[in-house]
Symmetry: C2
Subunit: 477 residues, 2 copies
């Protein structure tokens, strides 16, 4: 049977794939999306959405507890069953009907099954019943298969069937003792969640010297001391040597320090692997299991003909849902423009066909207590790029709006300024409710708004946003 | 006795006056500030700070109540005594020791007393004991005396000794029935506060057709329906004809509709008057009691010699603490620059000597439930200025970050775009916790960041900030 032809074939119906297909269809192309699991992807069912659903009730309660007058009204405790029920509702009980309805509305075809590349512009989909469907792409195939948790080769670890982000965000029973391998975002968010949802002993085992190592050092330090204050153990510079299972079902982790830790559950949050193992990459000259290197328009340059794209985690640019969606918009628009002959050469930076923000302004909010919000470069990252920078810090608790927001508010902001260009290249905010402050920094960086002009962007009094004024004053404006 | 000479004399030690003096001193000038009341001014003791201190506990509790899982923990009610105690602590119990310490640290001299202009560059201060001090300014006098509540000439109203913003923010006993004349920010914030702090019947009597009339119409409509849902009566298009006091101490307000309203207290929040009545304006050719018209550097142009400045409410540009402080920074820097001969002509727009944001990007957060945050022009205001605009709206509750933030989140965002310049000229956000989202809009407007570039400012998922993506998509990007 001849292959069914589409203008665009998208592999993976996570938020990235959905957005690629949507932009393609909006641009007048016919698109199909292939998904082996739930339509909606990791973010909707096993990452951002359920994790934030677990975290928001805790955060709302902490916020109310930190204001005299409100605090006294909280005489009960978190209703853990309700927290789980709310989380289940946000994941639509792991049912993708809502998402497939959305695909229908967006006029995107869906094929359920496992997709493999089969040479240039060709795909073979294996359905659940084993039958196959041949598809061909007139213009482009976009790989949006994302990533999965990497499991270190630690002896005994895989055998212990540890939690990954999937189980940690979808679990409904708090293990009594939880050992977390890793110290990044997933580790810190899930330590926050489970330590409040009933787990008595949470231990974070981080190989590196600090938590959330991609952020400014003070952010990890703030998280670590907050964890320790709340009884979460943080072991930095520590590696798990071996995992052993006991007869009663619990596990023992032997650390390089010689210590052992007993736990009822292990969460592995030690990095990600691309979902490209069984994708037929070898049929187009790429290595299975590798990250897919792309140009600014999300095109895989190693493949001749320019028909293969990769957006989202799988290209290793910025493993965040919102950046995947951003790349998807760029990618979908670039596919359309090229199909119409409107984009010959490489797209210009900051044009609608170049994901320039990938290298300049990746924002991230970590929903811990305190929250961590960061965009752009840390001071160290900027210096490593050879940028002449000056960084200024300010204690957010000294801002009236922050002290009104929460009694004894503590937090810290850092602004990293490229002193040659007189623009901000990075901002980090650590403290309660800093997440929604971040977009101002993202716009300042992306817009390359000079400090002299930012001086006229007046923060409303008394909001926490007045941190902006203080940072600029501290810088010397 | 010869007048004591300073480089700069500032009349009024509110936040505006303090900032003018501070910038002058930082620029190397000697400055004195004259204050007849508490150092720190209206904002610190009888406006923003105490009002937000009253409102934040309510808001924190509402936020926690709107998240399943947290909601169940709130089995008690707001502790009103604690709310007042917290408010009192934020106003330092109406003691200005902290503020005078700050003046000392900033090397700003303080004279307590009532200041009157006495011709060019001259001031006479009358101290509490009746003695006078003569002061002369080498370079500049800055009037930062602010504004006070205007009391309409309604028969019987003044005699009823109504509350103004001062009493409403500093009160410690909830009147059983509160009638509020006015429908602007003070009226709406205080209706929100007192209806939760024990007042059983709150009635807002607004002459105009809607609440917060300077904002987008949907903002006032959202507030009105929220008030009505919570049992606060809102009468729009209604004028008070007459106020009568009864023997038992309560008052009766006769409305033009023929209705009467009985109340235990009246709050007048129907606009502001400049504090310039008894300031000696006539000695420099100005009219006592008038607003002081200024240029972009805060200089009163009607006075020859260019030595008289007016910053803050008194110049009627933007009656907001943060805009007063902004003008103060501009004003203080302009005084220094002119003293040093570095600023001859009119300052360029957006330079550090021109308060250009006064006309382009005045932000305001109204701490009601829902919050209202707005900056720049409304659609109507933009059209009135002859700008070709297109406005797009988006229901904030449809953003995942908002629905995670609060169950049944409802809110609305409007972005007003100058389609000739392809830049945003106004943004309005109505909904829970929208206040901290505003600064992103302020930076976008002030920075004149084109929409095509804003497309690359990726909001973090899942924050409420994703409203930015939705607005741009709705606009057609």
């Amino acid at each position: 049977m001849a292959a069914k032809e589409y203008d665009v074939i998208v592999i993976g119906a996570g938020s990235t794939g959905e957005n690629v297909a949507d932009r393609a269809v909006k641009g007048g192309l016919r698109a199909v999306i292939i998904e082996a699991d739930l339509v909606g992807g990791e973010c909707s069912y096993w990452a951002c959405v359920p994790s934030k659903a677990l975290l928001r009730p805790l955060q709302a309660l902490t916020a109310a507890r930190s204001v005299a007058g409100a605090r006294e009204a909280i005489t009960g405790s978190l209703d853990v069953a309700q927290v789980f029920a709310r989380r289940d509702s946000f994941t639509a009980h792991w049912n993708d009907k809502g998402q497939t309805d959305w695909l229908n509305g967006a006029k995107i075809d869906l094929v359920r099954g496992h997709a493999r590349l089969d040479g240039e512009r060709k795909i073979v989909v294996t359905e659940k019943n084993g039958s196959t469907i041949d598809l061909a792409a007139r213009y482009a195939i976009a790989v949006c298969t994302g990533s999965r948790a990497a499991i270190p080769a630690t002896p005994g670890l895989a055998e212990a069937k540890p939690w990954t982000s999937r189980e940690a965000t979808s679990g409904r029973e708090a293990p009594k003792r939880l050992a977390i391998i890793g110290g990044g975002v997933v580790a810190c968010e899930m330590a926050t969640a489970w330590s409040r949802l009933g787990t008595k002993e949470v231990t974070i085992i981080q190989r590196g010297p600090r938590l959330i190592p991609n952020c400014e050092p003070f952010a990890g330090a703030a998280l670590q001391s907050a964890f320790e204050r709340r009884g979460v153990t943080v072991l930095t510079g520590t590696t798990v040597r071996r995992v052993e299972q006991n007869v009663d079902g619990d596990v023992e982790l032997s650390l390089d320090s010689g210590k052992t830790i007993a736990a009822d559950e292990i969460l592995v949050a030690a990095g990600r692997r691309p979902q490209t193992d069984n994708l037929g990459l070898e049929t187009v000259g790429l290595e299975p299991g590798s990250w897919l290197e792309v140009d600014d328009s999300m095109r895989v340059q190693a493949v001749a003909g320019g028909w293969l794209y990769a957006a989202g985690d799988v290209n290793h640019q910025a493993l965040l849902t919102h950046m995947g969606k951003y790349q998807a918009r760029i990618c979908g628009d670039a596919i359309v423009a090229r199909a119409k002959g409107k984009l010959d050469s490489s797209p210009a930076p900051w044009s609608r066909y170049a994901a320039t923000a990938d290298s300049a302004a990746v924002p991230q909010v970590i929903f811990t207590e305190p929250e961590v919000a960061a965009v752009g470069l840390t001071e160290e990252q900027a210096r490593a790029r050879g940028i002449t920078v000056r960084a200024v810090d300010y204690e957010i608790g000294r801002v009236t709006g922050a002290s009104l927001h929460a009694d004894d508010y503590t937090g810290r902001a850092r602004m990293v300024v490229d002193t040659d260009r007189n623009v901000i290249v990075g901002v980090t905010l650590v403290g309660p409710s800093t997440g929604e402050l971040l977009h101002a920094a993202t716009i300042a960086i992306v817009g390359a708004v000079p400090l002299d002009r930012l001086w006229h962007a007046v923060p409303s009094y008394p909001t926490i946003g007045e941190i902006w004024l203080r940072l600029l004053e501290t810088f010397g404006l």
